[in-house]
């Protein structure tokens, strides 16, 4: 395969002879895909973030389906002076309740506040029980306010959920259901913000928190700044190209590839039924960076060939030199370009096996983007190049006397002069030191951490979290095997014990369940005697209390706690900490309590913290699996291409090192594995493999050309492909570096991870792989060099 590249010559000759046909074909395909890309929808469904099929995630979904609470927004109101027992403040609560419930997406009967019709005060005396709305008519007199205070204080069930313990903070907890065609939470966020702004004045602070607000924040950052960063990345990458080629053409052609590849990837995405999540808009930067990088490799080769042809006597006919340089460059690197592109594309596409849709989306865009780039640079670029005027002067980039060239020359000399073992040993030591950081690597899927501590989204969340029971949740779904199971005193007692244990944990701010309501009714029906704040032993009495409440209240009053036929109930647990480690420990510790539920009753766990555990587990476990998948792709393809398993392994080892170093650096720098940084390892592997393949090919070619002169081959491959590797790494890192300026922590984390990854992958290709080759002198390079040299495939390496 390697040795007979004459099909390449025929192929590229056809392109050079028929450039307009190729350009027209690419224009048509681009137009079709651009049309598709223009129709792509933003899809900011929260499910995209969660692993499908996970037990915690499925339980959370089931609970939300039965009991509501999927898109909960908490609006917190905090008087700047005094507590909430002021008519003006209470009036704001009434108005907020009313206006929020009127938002079209609001689930009206699931909007709770002190002023909500469903929030009832249960009180008892010697004669009997009263069930009244907590706040019905706005209290204006001291007596009415005192009566409200009594109602609130005698119903602690709502303290920590709708009012803080110190009574200086109240909340409107609203549940929403977005229409199926909603593109995200931004619109809802704006509607809520408008209501809040109209009520906020010098007397109160008002905050909005909850998942819809956080996701809207992500969307707003992505949608408003995504274009800006893409533009900045484009300019930076273009600048790097100019630095690499010192030529406008050299700068523009890779950018044409990059832009078209991005359009193609987005078009293919829509054509294959995928939509784009806001968070994946940065992936377009990756596509642009990688594809411009690939184009750089090819174009650099063109300039080399052009310079060689001019030097060999075609100076008088630069047009002929141009055409021949195009044919020669594609012919010489066609195979390696295809293989490197395929490996890059396949490794990224392997992310399509992820359980998390967001990661699948990333894999698709990046993988098809790289594949698109490959097609474009093997078709359009040679066609355009053949129509453009030849370069004005012969350029020999590899011979430039720049600082970089001198550095590479010195390094190559050191490497070839017997220092390779030391360099290898030093590299291994360095990699191990860096890799040790993996021990400090942690997963963090808390979306709140995507925002800086001073970001309004996080400020609001912190305020609400501090005042109320907590914005993180753990749900316990209690499922009986028959209707009315939840009326069983044993079940309610077990629920109560669970709640008691949970409420004793430092970070648990609030628990709520049917058990609490039953206890409250029992106490009320016994003249509010605290001794009866307990679950009655008699199942009939429990059933009759529940009937009594339903008669006094509304049929929807219990909807959040128990289902229609009392077969399933939920214990809501609100937690101030977003630590998944805390949640995991808690899950372990409650196991004995869960076993106290009677036979036939199952308990499952869900909630935001459970979901976070699921996401972290999947991100970490998939990273391991995906690294193996990618390694397998690389090993198989490179072994086949180079017809040597040793060759495959030789490329694989640095790739594994790159993955290890990538995680290690993240560990040392405290960058957690999140939805963005988790895929940087895949990027590192994909791009790293790419570098190594180019370098290895070039070294083998130069070794053959120079008659096994290791020093010369090392230097020449460093000055050509090595330099290209550096420029590509610079282009990708530079493209992402624009994100450093963002206030969005997710972006700055991602930028740090990508820049570090580029550093490691370039180092691995230029130093580690090179040292390994010189130390081990594998036969597929050193043995093959002679055969290549003697082969008839003159245009090959």
């Amino acid at each position: 395969m390697l040795l007979n590249d004459s099909p390449w010559k025929k192929y590229v000759s056809f392109i050079v002879r028929n450039p307009y046909v190729i350009i027209a074909a690419i224009v048509v395909v681009t137009a079709l895909l651009a049309f598709q890309a223009a129709n792509i929808r933003l899809d900011n469904t929260r499910d995209l973030w969660l692993p499908s099929g996970d037990r915690y995630v499925e339980t959370t979904k089931e609970i939300q389906h039965i009991f509501g609470g999927r898109d909960i927004v908490v609006i917190g109101i905090e008087p700047l002076k005094g507590d909430i027992y002021q008519t003006a403040v209470l009036n704001k609560i009434v108005r907020l309740q009313d206006r929020v419930a009127r938002i079209p997406e609001a689930i009206r009967n699931n909007t709770a506040s002190l002023a909500s019709p469903k929030i009832k005060a249960i009180t008892g005396d010697e004669e009997g029980m009263a069930v009244q709305r907590m706040l019905d008519k706005l209290p204006t007199t001291p007596e009415e306010i005192a009566a409200l205070k009594r109602r609130i204080e005698s119903n602690p069930f709502y303290t920590g959920a709708l009012i803080s313990a110190d009574k200086k903070f109240a909340a409107i907890v609203a549940d929403f259901k977005l229409p199926p065609d909603a593109q995200g939470y931004t619109e809802l966020n704006n509607e809520i913000a408008a209501i809040i702004d109209s009520e906020r004045d010098s007397s109160v602070d008002i905050y909005a928190g909850g998942a819809p607000i956080a996701f809207a924040g992500v969307e707003i950052y992505s949608n408003t700044t995504g274009g800006k960063y893409f533009g900045a990345a484009f300019i930076i990458i273009m600048a790097v190209q100019f630095l690499a080629f010192r030529s406008v053409q050299g700068m523009l052609l890779p950018m044409v590839t990059a832009l078209l590849s991005t359009v193609w990837a987005l078009g293919l995405m829509h054509a294959f039924g995928f939509e784009l999540n806001s968070i994946n808009t940065t992936t377009c930067i990756l596509v642009m960076a990688i594809t411009s990088g690939h184009a750089t490799q090819l174009l650099k080769r063109y300039y080399e060939e052009f310079a060689r042809l001019v030097a060999e006597g075609l100076k008088s006919d630069l047009r002929a030199a141009n055409r021949t340089a195009i044919i020669d460059s594609v012919t010489r690197v066609g195979t390696v370009t295809i293989v490197a592109g395929m490996i890059g594309s396949l490794t990224l596409l392997s992310l399509m096996l992820s359980k998390i849709a967001l990661i699948r989306q990333f894999g698709f865009i990046a993988g098809t983007g790289v594949a698109s780039g490959l097609v474009i640079e093997m078709t359009l670029i040679p066609a355009i190049r053949s129509l453009l005027p030849p370069p004005r002067s012969s350029i020999r980039p590899e011979a430039e006397n720049t600082l970089l060239s001198r550095l590479l020359r010195t390094f190559a000399a050191q490497m070839a002069s017997g220092r390779a073992p030391w360099i290898l040993a030093g590299s291994v030591a360095l990699i191990l030191a860096i890799g040790a950081g993996t021990l400090h690597l942690r997963g963090d899927s808390s979306i709140m951490h995507y925002f800086a501590p001073t970001d309004p989204v996080r400020v609001a969340d912190t305020a609400i979290n501090k005042a109320l029971g907590g914005t993180n949740t753990i749900y316990f779904l209690i499922e009986g095997d028959k209707p009315d199971s939840m009326k069983d005193p044993k079940v309610l007692t077990a629920m109560d014990k669970l709640e008691t244990y949970l409420s004793q944990q430092a970070d648990v701010g609030k628990t709520q369940s049917l058990a609490g309501l039953v206890k409250r009714m029992n106490q009320s029906m016994h003249a509010d005697d605290p001794a009866f704040n307990a679950i009655p032993d008699d199942p009939l009495l429990i059933a009759q209390y529940l009937l009594l409440y339903s008669i006094s209240g509304a049929p929807g009053d219990f909807d959040n706690y128990v289902d229609n036929d009392y077969r399933r109930a939920v214990v809501w647990t609100f937690v101030r900490s977003d630590s998944t480690a805390f949640a995991q420990t808690l899950f372990d510790h409650v196991q004995p309590l869960l076993k106290q539920f009677p036979a036939g009753v199952k308990v499952r766990i869900g909630g935001t913290l459970a979901d976070s555990i699921a996401v972290n587990d999947v991100i970490v476990s998939e990273k391991i699996v995906n690294t193996f998948q990618m390694a397998a792709v690389i090993l198989v393809l490179t072994s086949l291409m180079l017809r040597s398993l040793v060759a495959g392994l030789l490329i694989l080892v640095p790739v594994v090192v790159i993955a290890l170093a990538n995680f290690g650096i993240m560990g040392w720098l405290g960058i957690p594995l999140d939805m963005g940084t988790a895929v940087t390892a895949s990027m590192a592997i994909s791009i790293g493999a790419d570098y190594e393949i180019y370098l290895l090919y070039r070294f083998r070619e130069e070794l053959a050309k120079s008659g096994n002169n290791i020093e010369l081959a090392t230097e020449r491959s460093m000055q050509t492909s090595g330099k290209a590797v550096i420029f590509v790494a610079l282009a990708i890192a530079g493209g992402y570096a624009a994100l450093f300026t963002s206030d969005f922590t997710f972006y700055s984390r991602l930028a740090t991870a990508v820049c570090m990854t580029m550093l490691v992958s370039a180092f691995s290709a230029l130093v580690l792989l090179r040292a390994m080759i010189l130390v081990f002198k594998p036969r597929f390079i050193f043995g093959a060099a002679n055969s290549i040299k003697n082969s008839e495939a003159g245009v090959v390496v």
């Binding site: 009127r102 689930i107 009206r108 009967n109 019709p117 004669e127 009997g128 029980m129 009263a130 069930v131 009244q132 709305r133 019905d136 009315d484 009326k487 029906m525 009655p536 008699d538 199942p539 009939l540 009495l541 059933a543 009759q544 209390y545 009937l547 009594l548 339903s550 008669i551 006094s552 209240g553 509304a554 049929p555 929807g556 909807d559 289902d563 229609n564 036929d565």
Partner: protein, 278 residues
């Protein structure tokens, strides 16, 4: 006052326990106003009387149907009798099933001049307790009906307008739009406007759409099975009512299984201390 409505509701049509003497009720209805609204007011007055019977004993089935189709069924029986003032009623409603609430009883004593008295007897507690609730437009015994939906509402408290005449399900109807005159009263009802399809022949509503202040449809009631109870006074019993709560996607069907408008109802049936007696 709220509970005047509450258990007057229980007295009323859906369970066939309405026991307001028509003659007295007639006097409770305000005279109609201008000629343009006369027609609508006349229709609403006829509607107000159409389901009123003096005394009633009955058994009923309530089906509560959740958004996913799950059904809960309750069976109740009740007695109701009009007080000598001809306005207030006393009502007792007893739950027969499900088994775990069997024997639970409520007594409602309406007082037009003060808050109603209400007691509950829980057999598992062996005690009768007084019950105080702020119920207004809240649920009628835990169903999708509110007490205001069940209770025939005095048309004098509403601005009524005949919108059109049309057939609904093959029956000639008046379509009347009805909105509470008083803002507080409207708040009590829990909706801003009703659109009622009232049969021309017997003056019973066969469909009622309830709208909130934003003209949003919140509930829909339909009735079927209209049975003549008193041919002379043209009093009817509605055997089935269905209410759909569009917000909760939940509905309730109340079916009158048996009724008797002639039974003799003793006084002691309406005493709180008698609630626990078998």
């Amino acid at each position: 006052m709220r509970f005047v409505k509450i258990f007057a509701a229980i007295v009323s049509i859906a369970l066939g326990m309405a026991a307001i003497d028509s003659a007295v009720a007639d006097s409770a209805v305000a005279d109609t106003g201008a000629a343009s609204t006369n027609t609508a007011n006349d229709i609403m007055q006829r509607n107000f009387y159409a389901t009123k019977v003096p005394t009633l004993t009955s058994t009923s089935t309530m089906q509560l149907i959740g958004s996913d189709g799950e059904k809960r069924e309750r069976k109740v029986h009740g007695v109701a009798r009009l007080e000598p003032n001809g306005i207030d009623s006393n009502v007792v409603i007893s739950f027969d099933s499900p088994a775990d609430v069997r024997g639970t009883r409520f007594l409602q004593m309406q007082h037009s001049d003060r808050d109603d008295d209400m007691w509950i007897y829980l057999p598992a507690l062996h005690k009768t307790r007084r019950l105080i609730s702020s119920n207004k437009h809240d649920s009628f015994v835990g169903t999708d009906f509110s007490y205001g939906d069940i209770l025939p509402l005095n048309p004098a408290n509403f601005n009524n307008r005949l919108v059109r005449e049309e057939q609904l399900e093959g029956v000639d109807c008046y379509v009347v739009e009805s909105s509470a005159k008083d803002a507080d009263y409207q708040r009590d009802l829990g909706y801003a406007q009703r659109i009622m399809w009232i049969r021309k022949d017997n003056a019973i509503e066969i469909k009622v759409d309830y709208y909130d202040s934003e003209k949003r449809l919140v509930k829909t009631q339909t009735t079927t099975g209209h049975e003549l109870a008193d041919a002379e006074k043209q009093r009817w019993i509605v055997k089935q009512r269905e209410m759909v709560d569009h917000d909760r996607n939940h509905r309730t069907i109340i079916t009158l299984d048996q009724f008797d408008t002639k039974a003799n109802v003793p006084d002691r049936a309406f005493r709180a201390e008698s609630l626990g007696e078998k």
